[in-house]
Symmetry: C2
Subunit: 404 residues, 2 copies
């Protein structure tokens, strides 16, 4: 007998018929003798409907009251799924975040889970019930409703799996698993059977959208085995798990990309200690997420400082950076939104030499200019002109022999 | 400075624009120096949408999980109204049933409020906030969500007014107040300025739909002054309050009607002690609400037992009554759904003689046959053929000079 946490996203519960499919799946697994906890998102389209209502009221819906609104989406789904299971003769009970005390901090719309009370869930499982938990929501110490940010249901599922000491956390979605790259861009991309937490984290944080980053971090921290699977078939998915020897034998595991960054270059900054912090401290204090930072070698006492921020935060960043650039005597500030980031990821980098060289050589063969480079132990990210993005992903995927 | 509880029903908050109107109203009152608590229902149509979803899943959506679903409607409204107040520069905080501990019994979909914790609400009012509370919902001792039944938001408002010792509870709706009879049926029906709790209770329980019965009972019990007013204008409404001398001077206060009853007649029952209980005990055990009961004078050791039940429960009632009728030797069971109940209500009945006589005489003049009669201290109800309903209401309303 295993204890399994299964998470179904918005498209998997997008209609009454799909909810009934999920109910069948869940009952079938329970009949095999497993204990089943299900975490669900809002029905596809529902969150957008709610957000639309709030935008008709105020330009900037946010904070405590906004979380009260958007958390209703998951509440509808847990009820319908529980009714569907009961209607098929199964036993089910639903829980909202506050009912199983999914305690979070007070950061509305991006709250972090602090703890979960698993006792009540174990009791209900022990009575033969399927336990259906609302994803995405929690409650803070004062009893205010909180939400975890888009995709937060993944995190709910992993946190529950950790709290309940589940044997596995299965994340159901509309794709078969994690692919070597986006199959919409490279049709012969291959499903990855097993991937390490660290690789998955790099994939997610460099643009692969299949799992929320925080859920992978939490799975790694609590060593929860995570499987990404398809709702609509029984194919085996991708297991996200601890490192295994076999994983290092691959040179590269996947190629990911991100179109949502913009570049800011501060030109000819006087090269003195403390200049970088003068720029980046106020930017980070404004909660702007700086991703890549490159500082060129100084020439004649001047240096170029280049970094990327989310496109949506470019204007706000400029408002902060331009007066500072002027004050510290930089020549000018240039920006570009026509860039893209491509990343190559794999534990194999630790043992295989020359991966970076192979990457640059491959790009050079097709005359793709690399504007910025940033590396970690198991990842190389580059910024290129956006128009070469598809080409770059395709030739890198081929060069590292990732396809079928 | 007064503490006012204002309740807005589904049509009053049916669109974003109407929610903004409510926000304006509430802010205006607060600026006059009053403390304001607002209770809201689900946006018009929302509850039906949710019920529709559940019916697509199961023929009999009910119980714990059903309450989880339908309580989301009010949650959406409290959020939007709070955001609207904030967007207009006001301060607002929303509360769900469980957040201010609206404790109920465990009877899902028809729960009764046991207590409310008013302390937190007083705190927030003290900080200059408008407090927005979800109507219709509560929480039982185990933390399960419960709902109070259709129209339950009225009860939430009155219970809050009682718990907070509010100066008045205002129920906003799409009509100007309580009328002497249904203005759709009798265009010259008149708005009643003041009405006693007892009269309002009789009006509500005999078919006037403007207030939920339980909310009037609770207002009477805790002596909460209740005002029924229109959301879309500033006209004074109807004050439901304690008895006043002036109220008794009216012969009749209102005429109400109900088309939703069906009649069951058990013919020629052997007239022995205990026969009535043999029939009505199992009926009430099935939770069927028997309204009027008439037993004719016995002739030749036999009697006729006639009673009314809600039309929707006629078939279920028959399944219980027919075998019993057979067993106790009744001749036959007859039913009719083409009946209607008309009631004449007024404290004045206590002091004015001849109201019943006048009622029967008025009906007789137009050849309307009275099938059943039932009276209380301040009410006379009759059952007539449904086709005479409009005529009966009109002539009674005129006979007691209730119109403009």
């Amino acid at each position: 007998m295993a204890l399994v946490v299964k998470k179904f996203g918005g498209t998997s519960v997008g209609t009454v018929e799909k909810i009934q499919l999920v109910a069948q799946r869940v009952i079938a697994q329970q009949q095999q003798g497993d204990q089943v906890v299900v975490v669900v998102s809002a029905m596809a389209g529902e969150t957008n409907r709610l957000v639309g209502l709030s935008h008709a009221i105020t330009k900037t819906p946010e904070g405590r009251e906004y979380d009260v609104l958007v958390s209703t989406g998951e509440q509808v789904t847990i009820s319908l799924l529980s009714l569907a299971i009961q209607n098929m003769g199964g036993k089910a009970i639903s829980f909202l975040g506050h009912q199983v005390k999914i305690l979070t901090d007070e950061a509305h719309s991006k709250a972090r889970i602090l703890s979960i009370e698993g006792e009540r869930i174990h009791q209900e499982l022990g009575q033969g019930k399927v336990v259906v938990v609302a994803g995405f929501q929690g409650v803070d110490r004062q009893g205010n409703l909180t939400t975890l940010g888009r995709g937060g249901s993944d995190t709910t599922a992993v946190a529950l799996a950790a709290a309940l000491k589940a044997d596995i956390c299965e994340i159901f979605t509309d794709v078969d698993g994690v692919y070597t790259t986006d199959p919409n861009m490279v049709p012969h991309a291959k499903k990855i059977d097993r991937i390490s937490y660290d690789e998955m984290l790099e994939m997610a944080s460099t643009g692969a959208k299949v799992l929320q980053i925080r859920s992978v971090e939490m799975a790694a921290k609590y060593q929860v085995p995570l499987e990404v699977r398809c709702t609509f078939n029984d194919n085996p998915g991708t297991l996200v798990t601890q490192e295994e020897a076999q994983m290092e034998s691959r040179m590269v595991t996947g190629v990911s990309y991100d179109r949502n960054e913009a570049k800011i270059a501060v030109r000819e900054v006087p090269d003195k200690p403390g200049i970088a912090s003068k720029i980046f401290t106020p930017v980070s204090e404004a909660n702007i997420n700086v991703d890549m930072i490159v500082q060129n070698v100084s020439s004649k006492g001047h240096t170029d400082l280049t970094f990327t921020v989310p496109k949506s935060e470019l204007q706000q960043s400029l408002k902060i950076v331009e007066p500072i650039a002027k004050a510290i005597g930089a020549k000018q500030v240039e920006t570009s939104t026509e860039i893209a980031k491509v990343s190559v990821i794999g534990l194999g980098m630790r043992s295989h030499a020359g991966i970076a060289a192979k990457m640059f050589e491959t790009l050079a063969q097709d005359n793709i200019n690399v504007q910025m480079i940033s590396t970690s132990e198991i990842k190389i990210s580059i910024i290129i002109d956006e128009k070469y993005l598809e080409l770059a992903v395709r030739i890198l995927h081929d060069a590292f022999e990732l396809g079928n």
